[in-house]
Assembly symmetry: C2
Homo-oligomer: 433 residues x 2
Amino acid sequence: VSDFREDGHAAIEWAARYLENVGDLPVLAQVKPGELTAKLPPAPPEDGEPFSNILRDLDDLIVPALTNWQHPRFFAYFATTASEPGILAELLAATMNQVAILWRASPASTELELHVVDWVRQLLGLPEGWHGHIEDTASTSTLAAVMAARHVTGRNVLVCSEHAHSAADKAARMLGMELRKVPADENLAMGTDVDLSDVAAVIATVGTTSFASVDPVRELAERAHAAGAWLHVDAAYAGSAWILEEERWSQDGVELADSLVINPHKWLLTPMDCSLLWTSRPEDFRKAFSLTPEFLRTPDDAYALSDYGPALGRRFRSLKLWAVLRCYGAEALREIQREHIRLAQLFAGLVEDDPNWELCAPQRFSLVVFRRNGSDEENEEILAAVNRSGEIFISHTKLDGRYVLRLAIGNVSTTEADICQAWDALNREARQR
Amino acid sequence: VSDFREDGHAAIEWAARYLENVGDLPVLAQVKPGELTAKLPPAPPEDGEPFSNILRDLDDLIVPALTNWQHPRFFAYFATTASEPGILAELLAATMNQVAILWRASPASTELELHVVDWVRQLLGLPEGWHGHIEDTASTSTLAAVMAARHVTGRNVLVCSEHAHSAADKAARMLGMELRKVPADENLAMGTDVDLSDVAAVIATVGTTSFASVDPVRELAERAHAAGAWLHVDAAYAGSAWILEEERWSQDGVELADSLVINPHKWLLTPMDCSLLWTSRPEDFRKAFSLTPEFLRTPDDAYALSDYGPALGRRFRSLKLWAVLRCYGAEALREIQREHIRLAQLFAGLVEDDPNWELCAPQRFSLVVFRRNGSDEENEEILAAVNRSGEIFISHTKLDGRYVLRLAIGNVSTTEADICQAWDALNREARQR
């Protein structure tokens, strides 16, 4: 159908223009639920159309309904960047369309994945010998780790902090396990005075979603192991910061983990989806996932990455991570993260210096948790107003029952001017309440 | 880093050349385990490189280690096509980098996904009102369905045919469920005389991986429902053929299913990964999966597709399916499938007419299951020899303990000449034993 080169070059031009202009678009989509759906033909076409129609409809229909994750003033959830080498690598991966169900089905995808994940292990200063592979999201990585833990311990209880990601709740629900949530201390870190004697796995978080707080991994790991439990570390966001020596304080005890998840699609410039899952106990993952008995394993099987997670078919995800690591190089990645952290500290300083606002949690990594002095309703209205303006997009959470705001930095094109604009927008809307 | 337009156009040229020349490459990768790994630098680079280095290394390192799924003589597993509109849509999806954790995080991705999956529902003649969304693979889709079934039934037993996909075994293992396999009849279809009183879910398959055989879905659904069990239909491969009226015989009873998986990345020209999961019981999926944590709570939760499967973050997968359906149009997709089925019938005819070979299972859809008259070892050697030649790539399975060969057709560029070449290669290698 049509001409691949012609369509392809047009698609590249479309992508280049989108990336150049995304900063001029509203950050949060300015549409109502169902608005896009109403514009789409109810039935699929019988006859083919030119690819240029797709590009036209991207402009007319899709872009207005995007929340622009590539926008420099996207500060919600965890802000991300799909960098240019990563984007182009996804084109190439789709072209080769590898389905890496086992080694022979794609030696390139299988071996590059193991190799590039090991590169990241080196950059982060993680222990040698850990087995790492790629899942789609941290939810899946954590689910896989909990599955392995339950399988090898034969226990059915999961333990995490009250501030752990909802993926823990979802894993327990999906697996029919009991979930016990442990209260956090004044630093929002998980308590350690907990009986683990019947526990399959403890999830410790480095960089919680709400506050970027850090659980005491070493003590949790020691207690978990003493009780025969598995220790899984969720560092989906903050673990990427271990490329910086100065952020490795938060890595203390991680070398004791049984499994660890870190998402380069969050803070290492890689497009969705790229979640890295390491384990120091690969044989226990195989016990949980492999349908090939150990005594039948061939040299090919040694590489079957479907033995470490739920899916059988596997996309060539390592290609984008390879392209990002090579085209940036480690030092440029460090500089980008240092700048994000500097901008977060700058914003936290603005909040601290203004008596109308307060910092609600210790500032960590590239996240700032704060609120306007006033009611929950006032903060909720400020958030709704700035997001509705399209100028910035921030999200919220609850702390001790209070409504608090979150500003997360992670886009490669975010500048000091963007941070100042966010601060101005927040103050403007606050003054109008 | 570098120039996106320049790198992008070079990437398109690389992709165009790969697609033009893939038919001249060996189908099965001609490398040994570890061969690519040995050529990769052991440590990640400190300094950035130009993107052109990636393209150079694709040629030098990656392509020789590919098993070429895009090759017209790829006949193993289920043969697939990543079509050109689908490939370019993946570039565009990576550019926009949507993370559709809930509606407001990406109205476009959320609504287009619901809409395009409904287009496929219409093309396949499935019941109105079913809720459909996209997972990565059939393993995950089936896992999600079994999770929902277990959650709502409170039972812990899974039932499937002896010929069901290994995803059933893996789901039972991952969830700690008991799996009961039911013997198949002389047509390789699942038996129905089975007690389902304590069963959470029955998996019925339309188009088994080994033989493309079809289970009696209607009877299994009626029995499952009478016993309070869930009926999941795995039509990952063959369900796509329901775009053809003449293949709808295999859809009998599917309208009774509680859930159904069909993979457009298998036989609807869509790049990995695109697995469609429908359910007639969306509220039961939400009971199993929905959490709606505080930090994500908005008025738009009605559309949250993470409430229907394990992952929270979701890639903009619907874009490629939209591009494929529009750029081909339904009628062209039907013609392509009809041609694949015709080619399979042609090959089956060659086998049947030759006393040295035999057809081992009723020919269904685009799969042929066959063997050389002779020992298992002889067949194993023939398979190894043709695959080693790089000329074709086929796979095998076991039937009543005997080693049998599988030839699956699914690449859009496969012609009658390719089928004849496969037949010639098989006969050449057979004569040399």
